[in-house]
Amino acid sequence: MGGGTNSYSEIENTEVILLWGSNARETHPIFFHHLLKGVHNGAKLYTIDPRRTSSARWADSWLGLDIGSDIALANAVGREIIAAGLHHQEFIEHATTGFEEYARVVESYTLEYAERETGVPANVIREMAYTYATAKTGMICWTLGITEHHNAVDNVLSLINLALLTGKVGRYACGLNPLRGQNNVQGGGDMGALPDRLPGFQHVEVDEYRHKFEAKWGATIPPKRGKNLTQMFEAMATKELRALYVIGENPLQSEADQNHARHLLEDLDFMIVQDIFLTRTAELAHVVLPAAAAWCESEGTVTNSERRVQRVRKAMEPPKGARDDISILFELAKRMGRDWGTPNSEAIWDELRALSPVHAGMSYARLEAAKGLQWPCYDETHPGELFLHSRLWEQPLTGPRVAFNPVEHDPPVERLTPEYPFRLTTGRRLSEYNTGVQTAGYDSPLRRPETLDLAPEDAERLGVREGELVRVSSRRGTVDVAVRVDDCLRPGMTFMTLHFQDDVATNVLTIDATDPKSGTAEFKAAAVRVERL
């Protein structure tokens, strides 16, 4: 089951926090409130981030690693913990497999090697390793700094290995937490909006699960996993995929290597876009279905980063002609010859509860009364689980052991060369959101136009000043953008957001090298050149 293992309240009471590849202060501000309570309660905070972000300003220690060297760092931490004998032998023997192989793989990740690969001083790596290993409790939280890489899954595994090594999972205030970027990233996966899962993390290739859903739905489900987003774009390139139904996404602007994405989308035989706006993607569509805003014009549920299922409710009427997503899908089904009856979010939820054991206990009435419940919630008397994987500490062990998955450091696909000497990384700002489709609607006093953020040393070397327009080029495209000198960046690194794609199409520059396991593109690491105009 994939989800943040802890509840937000636990970070208020943990001893050590590793905030890895996350600027939660700006991207998850209310989670950061909980984190700061932890800091005020005495937790030691390490931020592991190439940029000295506003989150890093709260840290006891900032590990400013080179972009894409996370595994080198994590493995060095693992090696140091083992070398010092601080690994949790009892937990490893009781609940895990593959420790010997892990120890063998990390053996070559010496502090000297890690310092060279990551740029983080060896003594700082050692100090973090000792602190994390010796604390009674500790939590690791991460965001897209870990996952927007060509080896996203390996990055995550390298962090999971640290938690297994030190027994910091399955106990109160110990765990692993991906902070989700959108209000229903977690819920979408939970509901089976993944190419290989049915709702409730039941794998589509397991006959028993598939048959259960087939019986309920009176339909046959393909017995093989489908394509993830990246594979879909690849299938568009080979003309295997000819029609696309896009719901609430703006891939034309959110995909890496935008010129390439545009070409593929324009080349489709048929594209439907269902959205609350006529996005740039919708402008390319053959059919546009105007939708109601899911969060305030329709009924349903979303699931957050602590696995809490919460109700969204209709607070207002959508514009005339727009319908909520459920109504649109029901109508489509009807036109295709299947009458699903009257669209009703609670009835759909109850069907889900009958099919997904981890959601079975969450009736609308209970969600209402408890102001949300956390999965797994097996029956109507179950309160939902505060943290996951407590089974790993039960004597005897409940269920299967969990495996160490040793992974090797693999730097970003696009190497820096004399022609493209700067590393470009991308991210968000506090008052903006993704491609700006929603946030452009309000007047934020914090808003400033897109910039290329440069380290002061690089600005001086290039002879450019704050506000000066420069040309930024990658192997895929070119944009002109104003310079902002940012002393939170180390030399060689540059930063842009993805918020103002209509003005500065950052994703023209980014690389679509993707992780074969998750389909995530390496938005965090392109190679660029910066020239004066």
């Binding site: 989700r180 209000n183 794998h203 397991v206 969060w295 957050n304 969204v312 009427e317 008052s431 309000y442």
Partner: protein, 330 residues
């Protein structure tokens, strides 16, 4: 395929329910409130016990999601044997305490505090405070008619120790023009009772931004940004958590301020609906205040474990996009 690994099948349910460690609770102590003997945890405040047994204690500077600062003094109660009245919001109960919540001394003190507030501050958008004034028969007008308001920024220039004694013919006030320096929220310090809630919410109790603090001394004390710069030049990040905790409407959505000015603010016609913010995966509850199918204000409930009533700029102000859309052309 029938692979048994946890990659294909959700792992089995744990035998025991995962729980937070249980903290040792000290044994309850015996206290007396208004002649009623009862037991309470020594971790509880007098206010919490009063509320539990249905005694309605007025509060202005207290809020469940903030650390008590004991400044408004309307919650004071009498503890027998104590020389001074004690603030119920922060004083914890002790064994043998005899508490009087409605004695003549308590009533007089509350009345006096409310009269001073009512005579110096515009309470027109503070229905709760006005209710307290009525309950304690406070008569702020007996201090005379209000002195003319200060000009813009005049109060902000006053130095500690430079306050001139008033003539006594009019009542001193904090009246001054409203500060409108951004599109999201306004600051009308004519309505400020200096309860410190905004400072607390901006500080360690929630946002940890520390954009505002109390400047000046005595009657000239006021809430100020650093060096009294306008909000866009300050450290403010527009989370609006100060608005969320303000008990008098001194801090207000600009949308509400403008509608009130235009006479279109119609609270009885508004609906309040709880939903979840769409801007990240934290899952903050938004209470949407809707009038005429338009969101006019956003708050968050204090009793939700995710937010404790606090939001960020996107959750509180980033709703405009849904109402910028047009109906389908006919």
């Amino acid at each position: 395929m029938n692979d048994e690994s946890y990659w294909f099948r959700p792992p089995p349910r744990s035998r025991e329910l995962p729980m937070a460690p249980v903290r040792d609770e000290p044994p309850p102590v015996e206290i007396t409130i208004d002649g009623r003997a009862l037991h309470a945890s020594p971790n509880a405040t007098i206010l919490e016990v009063c509320r539990r047994i249905g005694i309605d204690t007025p509060t202005l500077c207290y809020l469940e999601n903030l650390t008590p600062v004991n400044v408004c003094r309307v919650c004071v109660v009498e503890v027998v044997g104590s020389r001074t009245l004690v603030p119920a919001c922060s004083r914890r109960v002790e064994g043998g305490m005899v508490i009087l919540t409605d004695s003549p001394r308590v009533r007089l003190s509350r009345k006096m505090v409310l009269e001073f507030l009512g005579s110096s501050v515009d309470l027109s958008t503070a229905p709760q405070a006005r209710g307290y004034l009525a309950r304690y028969e406070a008569s702020p007008t007996r201090y005379g008619s209000p002195a003319p308001p200060a000009s813009a920024n005049e109060r902000d220039q006053r130095e500690p120790g430079h306050h001139r004694a008033p003539s006594g013919e009019t009542s001193e006030t904090v009246a001054q023009p409203t500060k409108v320096d951004n599109d999201l929220y306004i600051r009308d310090y004519s309505k400020c009772i200096l309860c410190y809630k905004c400072v607390e919410a901006c500080g360690t109790d929630a946002q940890n931004t520390f954009a505002i603090a109390v400047a000046g001394r005595g009657f000239d004390a006021r809430i100020s940004t650093e060096l009294n710069v306008p909000l866009p030049d300050s450290a403010c990040v527009y989370c609006g958590n100060c608005i969320g905790v303000c008990p008098t409407g001194a801090l207000m959505f600009k949308s509400e301020h403008d509608m009130r000015k235009a006479g279109t603010w119609n609270e009885p016609a508004q609906t309040q609906t709880d939903t979840i913010c769409s801007y990240c995966g934290v899952g903050c509850t938004l209470t949407l205040h809707v009038q005429d199918n338009t969101i006019v204000k956003v708050t968050s409930p204090m009793d939700v474990s995710v937010t404790h009533g606090h939001l960020c700029i996107k959750g509180r102000f980033g709703f405009e996009h849904v109402q910028n859309r047009q109906d389908e052309p006919k």
